[in-house]
C-alpha cells in the first residue's frame, strides 16, 4: 500500500497517539486543580460520608493510572462519562452546546477569511496608498481591540441605539450577526496582514511580471498571484478556525451565546471533571482533524505540494 491511503493511515495513527497523550495530560492536569471536586459537587454542607460516596461514584478514589485506563476503555466504548453536576451524559451535554460554537466559529472564520483576503489583496495591489494605510489601520485595530469592548460597542450601536439586532441569545439568524463580527474581526486582521505580505512577495515574482508583460489584465495577474500566495493564508485560516473554536468564550459570554465555551468555564468552576475532560478531549480531537484537513487542502490548492510519496 502506498500513496494517499498510507499517508492517511499514518496520520490517523499519529492522531490516536496524540489523543492518548492528550487524555493523559488532561487527567493529570485536571487533578492538579486545587479544591476537592467531590466536596464541591457534594456541597459545603455535605457530611464526610456523602463526600466519600461522590468520590467513589466519580472514580476519584482510584489511582491516576486506573482512572486513565478506565477513561480510555470507556472512550473505546463510545462513552465520555456522566457529568457530575448535570447528572446527564457528557456526550449529550457537549452535543447540545458544541453545534452553537461550531456555527459561530465557522461564521467567524468565513467573515475573517472573506474580508481579510479582500482587504489584504487590496492593500497589496495598492501598496503605499490610502487603501493600504486604511487596511493597516483596520489590521491593528482588529488585533488590538478587546473582544469584550467591541462586543459591548456593537450591542450599544445595533441594539440600544438602532434597535436592529437582539442583544444576545441564539433565537434567530440575526442573533448571529454581532457575535460573528466580534469573533471574526481578529481573524480578519490576521488574515489581511498575512495576505498582504504574501501577495506582495508573489506579485514580485518573475512569472507575474511575465504575465503582466504579456498584457494580461491586472485582475487576472492578481488571481494568478493569489492562488500561489494561498498556502500560508490557508494555514493561517486553519489555525484561526481552531483559535476561534477555543477562544469563543468571551464572545459567548458577552452575547449570551449558548456555546461550549461557557459550558467549559462553568464546568471548571464546578470541578465537573468528566465534563471538563470531555470538552477538552473533543476540542483536541477537532484540532487534530482540522490539522489533517488543512494539510490535505494544501495539495488541492497547490498540486506541487505532495504530502506523500
Amino acid at each position: 500500500m502506498s500513496g494517499f491511503p498510507t499517508y492517511l493511515v499514518r496520520r490517523l495513527v499519529a492522531a490516536v497517539i496524540t489523543l492518548l497523550g492528550v487524555i493523559l495530560v488532561m487527567v493529570l492536569l485536571v487533578r492538579a486543580l486545587p479544591g476537592d471536586p467531590a466536596r464541591i459537587i457534594a456541597g459545603l454542607q455535605a457530611t464526610p460520608e456523602q463526600v466519600e460516596k461522590i468520590r467513589v461514584s466519580m472514580g476519584l478514589d482510584q489511582s491516576v493510572p486506573v482512572q486513565y485506563w478506565r477513561y480510555v476503555v470507556n472512550l473505546a466504548h463510545g462513552s465520555l462519562g456522566t457529568s457530575a453536576r448535570f447528572g446527564t451524559t457528557v456526550l449529550s451535554e457537549i452535543g447540545h452546546r458544541l453545534p452553537y460554537t461550531i456555527v459561530l466559529a465557522v461564521f467567524g472564520t468565513l467573515f475573517g477569511a472573506i474580508f481579510g483576503i479582500a482587504l489584504g489583496v487590496l492593500a497589496a495591489t495598492h501598496k503605499g496608498r490610502w487603501v493600504d494605510a486604511f487596511g493597516s489601520m483596520l489590521g491593528v485595530a482588529g488585533i488590538s481591540m478587546p473582544v469584550y469592548w467591541l462586543g459591548i460597542l456593537l450591542i450599544v450601536l445595533f441594539s440600544v441605539m438602532l434597535k436592529l439586532l437582539p442583544i444576545g441569545g441564539a433565537d434567530t439568524p440575526s442573533s448571529l450577526v454581532m457575535p460573528t463580527i466580534t469573533l471574526g474581526v481578529f481573524s480578519m486582521a490576521v488574515v489581511s496582514r498575512m495576505t498582504r505580505s504574501t501577495m506582495l512577495d508573489t506579485l514580485d515574482q518573475d512569472y507575474v511580471r511575465t504575465v503582466r508583460a504579456k498584457g494580461v489584465p491586472e485582475r487576472v495577474a492578481v488571481r494568478h498571484a493569489l492562488r500561489n500566495a494561498f498556502i500560508p493564508i490557508l494555514t493561517v485560516i486553519g489555525l484561526q478556525f481552531g483559535t476561534l473554536l477555543g477562544g469563543a468564550v468571551l464572545t459567548e459570554t458577552v452575547f449570551s451565546w449558548p456555546g461550549i465555551g461557557q459550558l467549559l468555564v462553568q464546568s471548571i468552576d464546578n470541578r465537573d471533571f468528566p465534563l471538563v475532560q470531555g470538552i477538552v478531549f473533543v476540542f483536541a480531537a477537532m484540532f487534530i482533524v482540522l490539522n489533517i484537513v488543512t494539510d490535505l487542502l494544501y495539495s488541492v490548492v497547490d498540486p506541487r505540494v505532495r504530502l506523500y510519496r
Binding site: G35, A42, L44, G87, T88, S159, I167, Q266
Partner: protein, 531 residues
C-alpha cells in the same frame, strides 16, 4: 455555588417589626423604587403577554434538592412551592400547608395540607407527595448540597391524605423556616419518572405553582407558562422567560433596548445613570447576605483581639460604601445582617486610623505583611473593595497583598488552617433568615473541615450559648442568647465587619408590581403593565 446556606428559626415579633421598618425605610430611600405592590389592583390575566427577565447565573440544575444558588432557587420557585413560605416582610406564612403544630416534646411537627390542589400534571397534591419529596432530602440517595437544615428530620409520615407528621431526632426551632427553602419544594411524585426525570435527578419539575415549567435550554433560557388551574390568584403574564445573560453590561443593554423587562444586578457603576433614566425603575432590596473579611484568628498576630479590632478601625467603610459600592449596600452594625431573626444592633467600628495604630502598637505589631484573598465577581465589587481595604490597611502600616483565585480554588484555600490567606473576603446568606445559620460562622463545631467557620474563631462561651439557642423553642429567651453572642463576637472581631449586600433589580418603568423577598429573591407574580 453560593455560600447561602439554609437553616433557620422563627421570627420574633421584634424581628418582624424591625424588618418591616427597614423595608419601609428602603422603599422611601431607594431611587424611584416600587418596593412592593401592595394596594395595586391586578388586571385580568393576559392571554399572551410575556415577561422577560435577564438573570446572570447559568443554571446547573432545576432539581430543587440539588440546587445551590439563590438565583436558581428564584427561577425554580415560579413552578414549585413549599409547605410554608416567607412573605415580603420576612414572616413565615402558610403555602401548601395551611397550619402546623409542634408536639409538646418538640419531636413531632404536624402539617395540615391545603386541599383541592393539583400538580401541573393533574395528579393530586397530598401527604404522599410531601413524604416522597421530603424523604428525598434525608434518604442519602440524592445529592442535597444545602441539606444541613434538614438533618433533624428522622422520618416523614403520611398520617392521612391531608396530614403529614415529621418526626425529629431533636427539637429544631429552625425546621419550619427551613421548609420554606426551595430545597424542600414539593413536586409530583408521578412526574419523577417522566420527561427525562429520574427520582435521582429532576430535569423537568412539575409542581403546584402559578407557572408551569415549560423548557430549559441550557446556557440560553428557562421558560415558564401560566398554569391552567392554579389554586391561588393567577398572575398577569402568560409567559415568563428567564434569559441567561452572564454579562451585566449586556443585561443592561437588553433592558435599555427594550428586549428585557427586568434585569438582575445591573452594572453597579451604572446605578447613578440608570436611576436618572425615566425609562427604568431601580429596586434595591435589602438582603440577608453579610459581606465581610474573615481574619484567621489562629494565626499570629491575629490571635490577638487588639489586632483584629485595629483592622476594623483602620478601614473607612463609609468611604468605600460611597465610592466603591455606589451606596448599594448597608453597613453592618452586628455580626448578623438586620433581616435575620435574633438580630440585635451591637455597635460600630468607626474609621479611626489613630486608634488602629495605637492598638497595633499595644499588640507589638509593626511592619506586618499579609495576604488578603478575594474572589472576583462573586460578590458586588469584591476585588475592587478588597483593593480599597488593602489601601486603608497600608495607611496603618499593614502591607496587605490582594490575591484572587477562581471560586473552587478560593474556597479550598480559605478552608485550610494554614492556607495562603491571612484575611479573606466572604459573603454569607442564611436563606431561611435565621440567626442560627449565621452562627455556623462562629462556633467551634463548624470549624473546617466540619463547617464553614473560615476564621477558625472559637470561644467556649459562644459555643455554649449557640448550643442552647439551637434547641430553644422559646423565641424571647432564644433571641437574648443570640444577642449576647452577637455582642461577644463583635467585641472579639473575627471579621472586618463590612456590610449586608442588596439585591439590585432594574426594570422597565412601564411595569409595576415587581417586588422582593428579604432573602435575595425577586417576585413578579404581581407584576403587570402600569396602565
Amino acid at each position: 455555588m453560593n455560600i447561602a446556606q439554609p437553616a433557620a428559626s422563627r421570627n420574633s415579633l421584634l424581628g418582624r417589626a424591625r424588618i418591616r421598618s427597614a423595608i419601609r425605610l428602603i422603599s422611601v430611600l431607594a431611587m424611584g423604587v416600587t418596593a412592593y405592590a401592595s394596594g395595586q389592583s391586578m388586571p385580568a390575566p393576559s392571554p399572551n403577554a410575556t415577561l422577560t427577565i435577564g438573570i446572570g447565573v447559568d443554571l446547573d440544575t432545576v432539581d430543587p434538592a440539588q440546587q445551590t444558588t439563590t438565583t436558581v432557587q428564584n427561577v425554580i420557585d415560579y413552578g414549585l412551592q413549599t409547605l410554608v413560605a416567607f412573605d415580603t416582610q420576612g414572616k413565615i406564612e402558610p403555602l401548601l400547608a395551611t397550619s402546623w403544630s409542634t408536639s409538646k416534646d418538640g419531636l413531632t411537627l404536624t402539617f395540615h395540607l391545603r386541599q383541592g390542589v393539583k400538580f401541573h400534571d393533574g395528579t393530586p397534591f397530598n401527604a404522599d407527595a410531601v413524604v416522597f419529596c421530603l424523604d428525598r432530602l434525608i434518604s442519602g440517595k440524592v445529592k442535597v448540597p444545602i441539606g444541613a437544615g434538614f438533618r433533624s428530620m428522622k422520618s416523614i409520615e403520611a398520617v392521612n391524605p391531608t396530614t403529614v407528621a415529621i418526626h425529629l431526632k431533636n427539637p429544631d426551632p429552625n425546621l419550619v423556616p427551613n421548609l420554606s427553602i426551595t430545597t424542600a419544594s414539593i413536586f409530583s411524585p408521578s412526574s419523577a419518572t417522566k420527561d427525562g426525570n429520574t427520582p435521582m435527578n429532576i430535569v423537568h419539575p412539575v409542581g403546584t405553582g402559578p407557572y408551569e415549567f415549560t423548557r430549559w435550554t441550557k446556557g440560553s433560557e428557562v421558560v415558564y407558562t401560566r398554569a391552567d388551574h392554579y389554586w391561588g390568584r393567577e398572575p398577569y403574564y402568560k409567559t415568563v422567560d428567564f434569559k441567561i445573560i452572564p454579562e451585566a453590561n449586556s443585561r443592561e443593554a437588553g433592558l435599555l433596548a427594550g428586549q428585557l423587562d427586568v434585569i438582575m444586578n445591573p452594572p453597579i457603576t451604572d446605578l447613578t445613570s440608570l436611576s436618572s433614566n425615566p425609562a427604568v425603575k431601580l429596586l434595591k432590596a435589602p438582603s440577608d447576605r453579610a459581606v465581610f473579611i474573615a481574619i484567621k484568628v489562629t494565626r499570629p498576630p491575629f490571635n490577638n483581639e487588639k489586632v483584629r479590632q485595629a483592622l476594623n478601625y483602620a478601614v473607612d467603610k463609609d468611604a468605600i460604601i460611597k465610592n466603591v459600592m455606589f451606596n448599594s449596600v448597608n453597613p453592618m452594625d452586628s455580626p448578623f445582617p438586620s433581616s435575620l431573626s435574633g438580630y440585635c444592633k451591637v455597635g460600630a467600628y468607626p474609621y479611626d486610623p489613630a486608634k488602629a495604630k495605637q492598638l497595633l502598637s499595644e499588640a507589638g505589631v509593626k511592619d506586618l505583611k499579609i495576604t488578603l484573598g478575594s474572589p472576583t465577581g462573586r460578590y458586588i465589587q469584591d476585588i475592587q473593595f478588597a483593593q480599597a481595604v488593602s489601601g486603608y490597611l497600608r495607611k496603618v502600616g499593614i502591607d496587605a497583598n490582594v490575591r484572587t483565585m477562581d471560586w473552587p480554588s478560593y474556597v479550598a484555600a480559605f478552608l485550610q488552617k494554614d492556607g495562603p490567606f491571612d484575611l479573606h473576603v466572604l459573603g454569607w446568606a442564611p436563606g431561611a433568615l435565621d440567626g442560627q445559620t449565621q452562627l455556623q460562622m462562629f462556633t467551634s463545631e463548624t470549624i473546617p473541615p466540619k463547617g464553614l467557620n473560615s476564621s477558625f474563631y472559637s470561644d467556649p462561651k459562644v459555643d455554649k450559648l449557640a448550643a442552647a439557642a439551637a434547641l430553644n423553642l422559646d423565641d424571647k429567651s432564644r433571641n437574648q442568647q443570640l444577642c449576647q453572642i452577637q455582642k461577644d463576637v463583635w467585641q472579639q472581631a473575627p471579621w472586618i465587619f463590612l456590610w449586608s449586600q442588596t439585591l439590585v433589580l432594574a426594570y422597565n418603568s412601564k411595569i409595576t408590581g415587581v417586588s422582593y423577598l428579604p432573602n435575595e429573591k425577586f417576585l413578579t407574580m404581581d407584576a403587570h403593565p402600569a396602565f
